[in-house]
């Protein structure tokens, strides 16, 4: 008998194996098999992006956000990175018996505010209450649909020489949650980066037609996302560690806890792969938006090392930057 372990839900290589061997095996179809952040479906002559995500973050309130806003922005971002304009959202809440009603009010208020910020409507929902211990305070599922306005984003577009851009300091979300959960204080309070990305992404896609692909580095962090991008491609990716943006508080926390910022979840960042010639315009568009102010080019697509991500370390050495393995930080989103 084998039991599911926490590492099966980590967002890393083990979760990918579970998804392939359990879900994809049985549900297999051409849309699902693309494993995009959102499914791109055609209804009539309209292209629709459709996605779903469940939120089990612990604690439910953390610096810079809460489970409610996180659940909204997470789904909105999964639509946005697929070149879609997020429109309609569903909310399913599983609530543990005994939850303070005022806590529920705060979470739902936060969701309503987040929906208004992201300019989406919550149009359907579901509520379940389970007995004490059957869940932890509240779990939220959101699904969303959006209208595809830019449908040429695919890892198949990658070319050697392309630039790899990240939209700001990495790891803020994971460290804000973990420091709140473990009661660890660092020199500066690290706030979650949880935020909607649609506005910035739309600007980027308007400013350049040479964006190849984008994805938000949530569970498993930038390292895992870059591996997801590189592994099906004929190219490698090389990352310059010295220029990867990470806040002082995040770097301190990582030193203390033995973590690597490159594997930490972000909830309001995006990785963009684009043609080298478009780098300047794209960075300008990203930096003009608050969520993208800290955008930087952190690497390049290379002909060498196809399918692999190589890190040039701060100390000048080179090594493989692999996919997250095992369960680094459970229940981060």
């Amino acid at each position: 008998m084998t039991n599911i372990t926490m590492a099966d839900g980590s967002g890393g290589s083990q979760m990918h194996k579970l998804i392939d061997s359990v879900f994809l095996k049985r549900f297999s179809n051409p849309i699902l098999n693309q494993k995009k952040d959102s499914a791109i479906i055609k209804i009539g002559d309209k292209k629709i992006a459709f996605t779903t995500d469940s939120y089990v973050v612990k604690p439910i309130f953390f610096p810079g956000g809460d489970i409610g806003s996180l659940a909204l922005y997470g789904t909105v971002n999964d639509l946005s990175v697929c070149g879609a304009r997020p429109l309609y959202i569903s909310v399913g809440a599983v609530i543990e018996e005994g939850l303070d009603r005022s806590v529920l009010d705060r979470i739902v208020d936060s969701m309503a505010r987040a929906a208004s910020t992201a300019e989406v409507q919550i149009v359907t929902g579901d509520t379940k209450v389970v007995e004490r211990g059957a869940c932890d305070k509240i779990f939220i599922n959101t699904s969303g649909i959006g209208e595809v306005y830019y449908d040429d984003l695919s890892v198949n577009n990658l070319m050697a020489g392309d630039c790899v851009i990240v939209s700001g300091p990495i790891g803020d979300h994971a460290i804000s949650v973990i420091s709140k959960r473990e009661g660890i204080a660092f020199d500066t309070l690290v706030k979650s980066d949880s935020a909607p990305l649609y506005g910035m992404i739309r600007k980027v896609l308007r400013s350049s037609k040479e964006v190849r692909f984008m994805r938000d580095p949530t569970r498993g962090g930038v390292a895992t996302t870059l591996n997801e991008i590189a592994s099906p491609a004929k190219f490698g990716i090389v990352v310059d560690e010295a220029v990867v943006p990470a806040r002082e508080g995040v770097r301190q926390a990582c030193e203390l806890l033995g973590l690597d910022p490159l594997y930490l979840a972000c909830e309001g960042r995006v990785i963009i792969i684009a043609a080298k010639g478009a780098e300047k315009d794209i960075l300008k568009a990203m930096r003009s938006e608050k969520v993208g102010r800290g955008s930087r080019t952190i690497g390049r697509v290379t002909e060498d090392n196809p399918g692999r991500v190589i890190l040039e370390t701060v100390s000048g050495g080179k090594r493989i930057l692999g996919m997250l393995s095992g369960d680094q930080l459970p229940r981060i989103c």
Binding site: N3, T5, E255, T313, S315, G316, G317, R319, G322, G326
Partner: protein, 360 residues
Amino acid sequence: MKYIDEFRSLTLTKKLAEQIRRSVDERFEYRYMEVCGTHTMAIFKFGLRSLLPANIKLLSGPGCPVCVTPNGYLDRAIAIAKLPNVIIATFGDMMRVPGSRSSLEKERASGREIKIVYSTDDAIDIAGRNPDKQVVFLGVGFETTVPTVAASILEAKREGIANYSVLSAHKTMPAALESIASSGDNLIDGFLLPGHVSAIIGTKPYGFISKKYGIGAVVAGFEPIDILQSILMLLRQSSPRVEVQYRRVIDSKGNPLARKIVNRVFEESPAEWRGIGRIARSGLRIRREFSDFDAALRFKVKLAPALENKACICGMVLRGMKRPDECKLFGNRCTPERPVGSCMVSGEGTCAAYYKYGNI
């Protein structure tokens, strides 16, 4: 980060790498063992091998506590976890280490109460909050971690915390290194010694390395500059001796207070090293006076004989005789997700370092 970034500086690593290049004689091979798992990880994480001349070979040593913990220990921990009203408190890196038939991670998934703690204080807190349960702390580590474990046992005794105990598999470094130095089957030209062990024991216990075996040694820090400077110091030794590079943390005397606490609670004993075997005077067991807090005595469990996968070459890897990628299981049967040996799963394991960071 102050006091960290300085020790990773590209300008300095380049300079040191250049000095190292100028100090080697191309006709010879230099075989240096980095004893500590934290060194192994730093070397891989910062890609330091790619900065060194090809004739400097870095061999990873036995200084990863999780890697050298025998399966029988995990089997016992798991058997205790299965007893009613027991909470196992453990450092996170033990969770996925395979025992003979299961792992703590798998046991937790099937409902046993196994909690990850960051210190013995956390374990004592759990004991305080659960007076009707037994809390067993898995004491795995070298000289560096033993003092806090000893202090927790003293605290439990002083405060009458009767539901706390320790399952000890603590080990000590010098006798293990002597067994490697004396075996002669790995041709080691120098040791990078674990800095934090010396923060406790000082440098005196290592004197035999140069005196008896004529091998040079440098007690090294854990940042790229520390490691490169230590390699340069080894290269520049005109005759073998034990030197300290990690001077910002240790002096030759170590920490006498920590040693006193350890000696109060623990006594020297033989110890079983996974893949290496039994080494005299290389372990620490809980003294009879504190036997009430010894989980191995408190909980009587029946254990089936421990099983080891015969194809696993962890033992040779831990003694610097083989590289992980020379193992038949490496990367196929044995991966961090499904480890056969603990060297593949530990955050400080040599096999994990090879698998994760590659050998490029």
